[in-house]
């Protein structure tokens, strides 16, 4: 939450934790067909694919490098997607890492995702936390309230559930929420201000 403070501070007083991009300049690319609500909080270099819906009060913060979100993702209220490197990787002078988020991912209400790489067809259930050392591949489900912090790579179709973060392997990938996205694309513009798409295909 310190990032809110950063915006209000004068530039020369921003504490530098190895940030490579200028936080005060946002460069948001919204592809046509995406639905990004005005009240959402987008910081840094973010590309949002077509068909993706970003609800109001969702925050996407590209702190360590650009974030590229694929198609037909559903990012619900109070979701925090933060691109933040672990402490030991911050001072490396390599090229800026890019957080790639695949397609058909669902970020449910109040989940907190800091993962460095996210595949497709994943579901992050409400109030879950995925730390910045956890790589998520395809078709995973992170259950409600689960906290993943240890360094690991979730294999395909992994399901994490319960208070003890038990794991099991799913048979199928979770169904894409096309119906929900369809409804929202009709409903949301009626009640919210939508950011205009600024990129052409």
């Amino acid at each position: 939450m310190g990032l809110i403070l950063l915006d209000s501070l004068p530039l020369h007083r921003i504490p530098c934790y190895g940030l490579k991009i200028n936080m005060s300049r946002n460069s948001i690319k919204i592809l046509p067909g995406a639905l990004v609500c005005e009240e959402s909080k987008l910081r840094g270099d973010i590309t949002i694919g077509s068909g993706t819906i970003v609800h109001p009060r969702a925050s996407i913060i590209a702190e360590a490098g650009p974030i590229i979100i694929g198609e037909y993702c559903l990012i619900e209220e109070q979701v925090r997607i933060v691109h933040r490197l672990p402490f030991d990787q911050r001072n490396k002078e390599n090229s800026t890492p890019v957080l790639l988020i695949g397609s058909h991912n669902v970020f449910e209400v109040d989940c907190n995702v800091e993962s460095p790489k996210i595949g497709s067809n994943n579901v992050f259930e409400a109030k879950c936390f995925v730390g910045n050392r956890v790589t998520v591949s395809d078709g995973c489900i992170i259950g409600a309230g689960c906290r993943l912090t240890e360094e690991q790579t979730l294999k395909d179709k992994m399901i994490i559930y319960g208070s003890r973060c038990q794991m099991r392997e799913g048979l199928d990938k979770p169904q894409p929420q096309t119906l929900q996205i369809e409804t929202l694309t009709k409903m949301l513009p009626n009640y919210h201000h939508i950011k205009k798409s600024n990129k052409k295909n």
């Binding site: 399901i159 559930y161 038990q166 794991m167 099991r168 392997e169 799913g170």
Partner: protein
Amino acid sequence: MSYIITPDIVRYACTCGLLKPISNLYFCRYCTQLRCSFCVCHEVDTNFCGKCSENIPSSEARVKKNRCGNCYICPCCEQELSTRIASTKTLSDTEDTKTTPKKMYYLSCQFCRWSSRDVGIPDQSTVTGGWPERENVHANQLQELVDMYKAIVLAQKQQQEKDKKKQRGKYLSYTDRTGVTAAALRKRIGLPAELTHPLLRSKPKEPEPAVAKTEVEKLPIELFTEPINLMDITTVDQRLLQPEAQPTTVDKLFPVHKQLSIKRTLRCKSCEHNVSKPEYNPSSVKFKIQLFAYYHIPEVRIVTVEPLRAGQSCELILKFTNPSQHQTTITILELNLEQQEVEEAEVAPSFDNMENLSLQEKQQMSLPSMLSQPSSLMSMSTRSPTITVKPRKISENVNCDVDVPSSTFILPPRDDAAEYDDSGDTHNIQDDTKLVKWRKSNKAYVKLNVTPKEDLGLNSDVVCGFTMQHVYTNTITGQMDKKEPQKYDHKVKVFLHLGKLVGSE
């Protein structure tokens, strides 16, 4: 409602001597005594399924092994499974005339996303039931054992009856007078002459005993060579959920029938009146009888405590709430744990008189008087002598003195509409301003001075206690032709955990 989840800071001494928070206590109006879950009889009222809210008679529940026939729980995470519709078109049919999409149903867990398809259970065409039941491999052997033990029980019963008959025969032998032997008499009626029952003669059939093998299967070498895939192996919880199958791999997890829940009736052991009786309907959460202490005994809560220092007096503010519909007067008395021992000693001789009670009843009296046998059995067999529970000594290390106030205070009755009453507190109660700091409707905030003992170490828990005497108005009418509500002085010992001792300034 925080007192339900917070640690037990304020505890009341039950009549049996155990300390419980007020939310766990009952109050028997007929004995005017506190009762805890150990001093009441627990009787199963109804069996029901928590998912489909269906009432299941106890006989049926026993046949179904206390499980619901229609509802399942997830074998993976023990949550309830829900039925989902899969409108798969019957593509497998080669004839194109059958194009109507058939609704198929499968079970799925909303929590861990387990589904009946995971283990290859075919989808069903009906919403409820029809799910394949797995046969227990040992079903036959278990049935044999059950049959054998049933036969043994029967044989023993008959043996006992026979012994009784023999004893009676010593004194009542009419056959001697009439000259007709019992065997002859039986023959005349048309019964076989032999007295012994056929079941008695034929010894219960013993099942084949298990045979120990000298040769066992070799340990599969794969155990050491192959890497384990933890995703395929079930957890201990999952195995114990199905004790009859104990699946070792995930693909053998099959849905489990949901266990039934019960509604209990609680009955005071001394007077056999109900202290809690739920409504019969499973979906109702109301009670027919609910004599919870929370509705009768004034509730004590800690508002503030000054930092506790050994040997120094500090201020403690307590909130007293009157839950009843009658005005009550509260007197704070000294907690006298030594006196309790004297009382016990007086009580003890009366137990000698009960030596002629049967052994079974004595066992019930012994503490802790947990009910180990089915309560219905007990209440049927020994209805007349009520069970008196000898109170045990309160084992609480009280290390803080309470300055007992000389005056008493009044708590007005509870008024549900008081919240909406803007006229302010109209009651004119003359309070001892040193004792009662503030009051609002049926609540009073009382200041007490407590002194932790001198020899207490730093960070040790400070516990104080007092006896709260309150006027209890008994509204049971028709008792001994007394129409006026009876008033009693009821005493409760209250123990407060005040927190840790801090160092001196």
